[in-house]
């Protein structure tokens, strides 16, 4: 349903991504991990149209979306959240969702559906600036969901949350995936969380694909362990 082919992105001399390719299946939860500066967020920005790639192509449901603008990409059915909590702080929770519903889905009632789905009715009229971190993240997720997306990209949604909140958030992500059939790509630092949540994952390192395959195989992969644990560490992992 979604495919990235040989995507590269450079900023002047700095190569942020080189020849990244992967595919995501319908209704899959696909994970992306990698050290700081590996290019994960750049990859998201390229997919969502904020940056144009230096080379390569991106396909969504058979359509080439490589050079589409973010708002066009959103209306095609790809929504995303950001790593930094970025709700529209002067708008109410409900209006935050309405931005997605009206501009992304062109279907205002979608905001009410999401409000119920995420259990945000109680804070419906609260300005987004007065929310705690967990609720802010839910609002950001909700705005993205309100666009009636088919593919949802989450950029480190769990960063800064407590263990209980992470559990709750994971349940919501799984519910969205199973009940609404939304395909999900998720960036996450916590490898254990990612391994339990996804069947397949991609690991980036220095802008290149380091690992692409079953999540269960990550801990055994020599190169992954090398990147996470350094030079000679890998030998131990193979036992």
């Amino acid at each position: 349903m979604f495919a990235v082919q040989d995507i590269s992105k450079s900023f002047g001399k700095l190569v942020a991504l080189s020849n990244v390719s992967f595919e995501v299946e319908e209704k899959e939860i696909f994970g992306i991990a990698g050290p700081n500066g590996a290019g994960k967020s750049t990859l998201f920005n390229v997919i969502s149209g904020i940056y144009a790639p230096t080379s390569g192509k991106i396909f969504f449901e058979g359509k080439d979306i490589t050079n589409a603008k973010p708002d066009q990409i959103c209306r095609l059915g790809i929504a995303r959240t950001f790593q930094i909590p970025t709700a529209f702080h002067t708008l109410s929770v409900y209006d935050n969702l309405r931005v997605g519903a009206i501009f992304g889905a062109r279907r205002p009632q979608s905001a009410d559906e999401v409000l119920e789905l995420l259990g945000l009715q109680e804070v419906r009229n609260r300005p987004a600036r007065n929310l705690d971190l967990y609720t802010t993240k839910l609002v950001m997720l909700g705005a993205a969901l309100a666009t009636d997306c088919k593919l949802l990209m989450l950029d480190e949604p769990m960063a800064g949350l407590s263990m209980v909140e992470i559990q709750n958030f994971l349940e919501i992500v799984q519910r969205i995936n199973q009940e609404k059939g939304i395909t999900i790509i998720i960036i996450e630092h916590l490898l254990d969380v990612l391994i339990s949540l996804t069947k397949r994952m991609l690991i980036l390192s220095d802008g290149q694909v380091l690992y692409l395959g079953a999540s269960s195989g990550v801990a055994e992969d020599r190169r992954v362990v090398e990147v996470y644990l350094g030079g000679k560490g890998g030998s131990h992992a193979h036992r």
């Binding site: 970025t86 709700a87 702080h89 708008l91």
Partner: protein, 321 residues
């Protein structure tokens, strides 16, 4: 709900007062001041729509007003076009010029460059005017511009401006509370997130330029028909400063702020005439003080007061309940 009643009640009282004022023995001078208040609050409200709601740091809105005023003045004087036509035409002309000459380039720019571009745009208008003396009257300006209807007195102008004031504020209110207004705020609060939720950044920002300049240009037209003349000094540094002061004093990014600000500044400025040449000094000082110490403006005071009163009422009623 209680809160809403309080506000709408006050608005009704204010509107009723303004309606009846000419019969309550308003002097011609006071009517003149009200006309200025109507027009300047429209200019300030539109400026605030760009600056406070859409986050576009424009410094050129007085220029929009100038284009509208001159267009209407020339149409009426040289071509005999009636006033009910010059006002929309002036708005349209202004909107086209501003959207093409400022809006399109500004979309490619960010932050400080927009402020620079718009300031230099507005600043270059007087020199354009002096170089097209044949039609614009140069430094002397245009005089004896036909009024809205032959034989119009101050009271007539007063009511026409008031109606215009109500219409434009209604439009702005509707825009702020429409999806377009939501898009402005979303872009201002978090540009990339809004963009990724399907908000077309270019279209929405261009809309602000088009709408704000349309209404400001129309305000310029109303101004010349109501007051009869316009010259480069009408658009110089002083009105620029006054309008900035209105927005900042009232409260940036609020609907009522610029209107309150316009009221205080238009009438306060008359008192300040007593200060003579010190007036501009005081205005400059006022702007600096607001920005440094009260960035929220008068509206913030009022909201804070309202909250306090509400809390007080709650405390009083809760033991009884």
């Amino acid at each position: 709900m209680k809160n809403l009643n309080w506000k709408s009640l006050l608005s009704i009282v204010v509107i009723a007062f303004i309606l009846l004022y000419p019969w309550l023995g308003a002097s011609s001078y006071n009517k003149h001041l009200f006309i200025l208040f109507f027009i300047w609050s429209i200019v300030a409200a539109n400026w605030n729509l760009m600056m406070g709601y859409a986050g576009i740091n424009s410094l050129g809105n007085i220029g929009f007003m100038a284009i509208g005023g001159y267009t209407a003045g020339i149409l009426a004087k040289s071509f005999g076009v009636p006033a009910f036509l010059t006002v929309p035409l002036a708005g349209l002309v202004t909107s086209v010029i501003v959207t093409v000459a400022l809006g399109l380039p500004a979309l490619r720019l960010s932050g400080i460059y927009i402020a620079l571009l718009t300031l230099i745009f507005a600043d270059s208008l007087p020199s354009v005017l002096t170089q097209t003396r044949d039609i614009t009257g140069g430094a002397m300006g245009l005089h004896e511009i036909p009024p809205f209807y032959p034989g119009m007195d101050k009271t007539g102008a007063y009511y026409i401006c008031f109606v215009f004031f109500l219409i434009v504020l209604w439009i702005i209110y509707r825009v702020i509370h429409s999806s377009t207004g939501m898009a402005f705020i979303a872009l201002r609060d978090s540009e990339n997130f809004a963009y990724c939720l399907g908000v077309n950044k270019f279209k929405e920002r261009l809309k602000v330029f088009a709408l704000s300049s349309l209404l400001t240009g129309a305000a310029g037209a109303v101004y010349v028909h109501a007051l009869g003349d316009i010259s480069p000094t009408t658009l110089g540094i002083e009105p620029f400063l006054l309008t900035i002061a209105m927005i900042e004093l009232g409260g940036v990014g609020t609907f009522l702020g610029p209107i309150l600000g316009a009221f205080v500044i238009v009438f306060g400025n008359e008192f300040l005439r007593l200060a003579g040449t010190l007036r501009l000094t005081l205005l400059g000082a006022l702007i600096c003080t607001i920005i440094l110490f009260y960035p929220g403006g008068v509206i913030q005071f009022i909201t804070a007061l309202e909250h306090r009163v509400e809390a007080l009422l709650k405390r009083k009623t809760s033991p009884a309940a």
